[in-house]
């Protein structure tokens, strides 16, 4: 069995001062606030790094060079950005008084880490945890009570805030060693687990919907078998054509399909 990777272990742990860490953390939450098509999160990244810079004595020349280093293209997953930001601050700290971090060095570290974390974050958060939370929320909504849904939303919010706080500290503690963190097998186990949860919860929603299609066919004025067949057909459509559309377009398309179906299958109307 392999030991879990702990970047920076064995040395005295490096830490950001609590004031700077708090301030950087709050700003990491708004990393995407100024997202733009040309350089994406560049302005957000620079704003995140500024509390560290402001903690030093003012030097217009150094500030200018610092801004130049970080005003270039930057894009990563916002939930994992703390690792890159923490790591960059550590590298800046280590080169403080030695002319700052060379531009090329910061660029290579930033770009390679941001790319790798964007890919991991897409898999873990956007394609794993977020759809799983959405479908779990739907399952909780079936109880007919609002508080479980709001409770899940708050729990997810607090969970990701804790995650982001810790990732900032770990990124700073690791510095260059953060690259080894990416090889940790736990990332892939978490991704697989989240996707499995999505499959089970999608199945659960499908089963519940089919059951109510069976029971509620009178609401659309048709027979249970016809209603069940139409609902099954709608579920199978994206799988058969191997395509997904934006949800809004699907809702609008169902409006047209509903008119056709109502006239073909349901004589009762409302």
């Amino acid at each position: 069995m392999t030991e879990p990777i702990r970047p920076g272990a064995g040395e005295a742990p490096a830490r950001l001062t609590s004031g700077v860490r708090r301030s950087v953390f709050v700003r990491t939450l708004a990393l995407q606030a100024s997202w733009n098509h040309q350089r994406m999160q560049n302005l957000g990244l620079l704003v995140c790094l500024m509390p560290w810079l402001r903690d030093r004595e003012r030097d217009a020349d150094r500030d200018r060079l610092f801004c130049r280093r970080y005003y270039e293209f930057f894009n990563t997953n916002p939930y994992l950005a703390g690792y890159v930001i923490g790591g960059l601050l550590r590298l800046e700290h280590e080169r403080e008084g030695a002319g700052g971090l060379p531009r090329g060095q910061s660029q290579i570290f930033r770009d390679s880490l941001a790319r790798a974390l964007a890919s991991l974050g897409d898999q873990l958060f956007w394609l794993g945890l977020r759809p799983a939370a959405a479908l779990l929320g739907c399952a909780l909504a079936l109880t007919g009570r609002p508080w479980p849904v709001v409770g899940l939303g708050l729990a997810a919010a607090i969970g990701q805030l804790v995650w982001r706080w810790r990732s900032l500290g770990r990124g700073y503690a690791a510095g260059y060693d953060i690259v080894s963190l990416l090889g940790d097998a736990r990332w892939h186990r978490a991704i697989a687990g989240a996707k499995r949860a999505v499959r089970v919860l999608a199945g659960l929603s499908a089963g519940w919907l089919l059951r109510h299609a069976w029971e509620g066919s009178d609401q659309v004025g048709t027979t249970p078998w016809a209603f069940l067949a139409v609902v099954l057909g709608a579920m199978a459509l994206p799988v058969l054509v191997r395509r997904r559309w934006a949800g809004e377009f699907m809702v609008l398309a169902t409006g047209l399909a509903a008119l056709l179906l109502a006239f073909a299958l349901g004589p009762k109307g409302s």
Binding site: G137, A139, A141
Partner: protein, 255 residues
């Protein structure tokens, strides 16, 4: 009742509710991309929060659940449409309350859960169509704001010459404020459009068309679930999906 009649009949309390819903919509717009990105801005949670704010949480769930299922695969990975789903959810719930259509008229097949009364599924479908249209209408606004961010970001390049950090922080603050204002205005406009136009329009639809709308929540939910199954490989992982289907069917029997 026309939109002007309806708004003429608004009391201070109605306008206060529009204000609160507008603020909620602005905060959720921030949460969607600009700030924190928690799960609270997802359509189900947004509609539930709007329902709680209006004092009709069941209405929030009735609209939020099918909307969430339909939009569950709207992921920010390779996304081509960036709608205003949270503002649309708030508008659908708030506008319906202001139009005086709750709670008895709603519930639909979702109202079958937890002993809630069976309501007008067709109105739920009509509101879902309205929410989808309003969300799509937000796409050009979001894109316009991103182009504005680019202009502001390019203005910030002056700091690379003079080292003025405050300028950069102000631009970031301006972007956050623009998102809040965009969400608040779009949400309030949506609430008024649903209350003054969309819900009254439902009343004048031919009976056949109105009845057809009852299919929309179910079909939209089914298509949304189908999109998830397609993305996550139902053929390869049928055991996990199958276990879920059995659990869901059993849950349907119990509720």
């Amino acid at each position: 009742m026309t939109a002007i009649d309806l708004m003429g009949g608004f009391t201070g309390a109605h306008w206060a509710l529009v204000g609160w819903l507008s603020l909620l919509s602005g905060l959720l717009a921030l949460d969607e991309t600009a700030l924190a990105q928690t799960w609270l801005s997802q359509p189900l949670c947004a509609a539930t929060l709007a329902g709680l704010l209006c004092g009709h949480p069941a209405l929030g769930l009735a609209i939020g659940l099918p909307l969430q299922l339909a939009l569950v695969m709207n992921l920010p990975v390779g996304q081509t449409v960036t709608g205003e789903a949270s503002a649309a959810a708030v508008a659908a719930v708030g506008g319906t309350v202001l139009a005086g259509k709750v709670p008895a008229a709603l519930g639909g097949f979702h109202g079958l859960t937890a002993g809630a009364p069976r309501g007008d599924l067709a109105l739920t479908g009509w509101l879902l169509l309205g929410a989808a249209l309003w969300s799509l209408g937000g796409h050009p606004l979001v894109q316009a704001q991103r182009r504005l961010h680019l202009i502001w970001m390019l203005q910030g390049r002056r700091t690379l010459r003079d080292g003025n950090l405050v300028r950069i922080e102000r631009i970031q603050g301006r972007c956050l404020a623009a998102t809040l204002v965009r969400g608040a205005i779009y949400g309030a406009a949506g609430v008024l459009a649903v209350a003054g136009l969309w819900v009254p329009l439902y009343g004048v639809l031919p009976a056949g068309v109105r009845g057809a709308m009852a299919w929309v929540p179910i079909l939209a939910s089914a298509l949304g679930i189908g999109a998830v199954l397609e993305r996550y490989g139902v053929a390869r992982h049928w055991r996990w999906v199958g276990a879920g289907v059995v659990a869901g069917w059993s849950l349907g029997v119990l509720t």
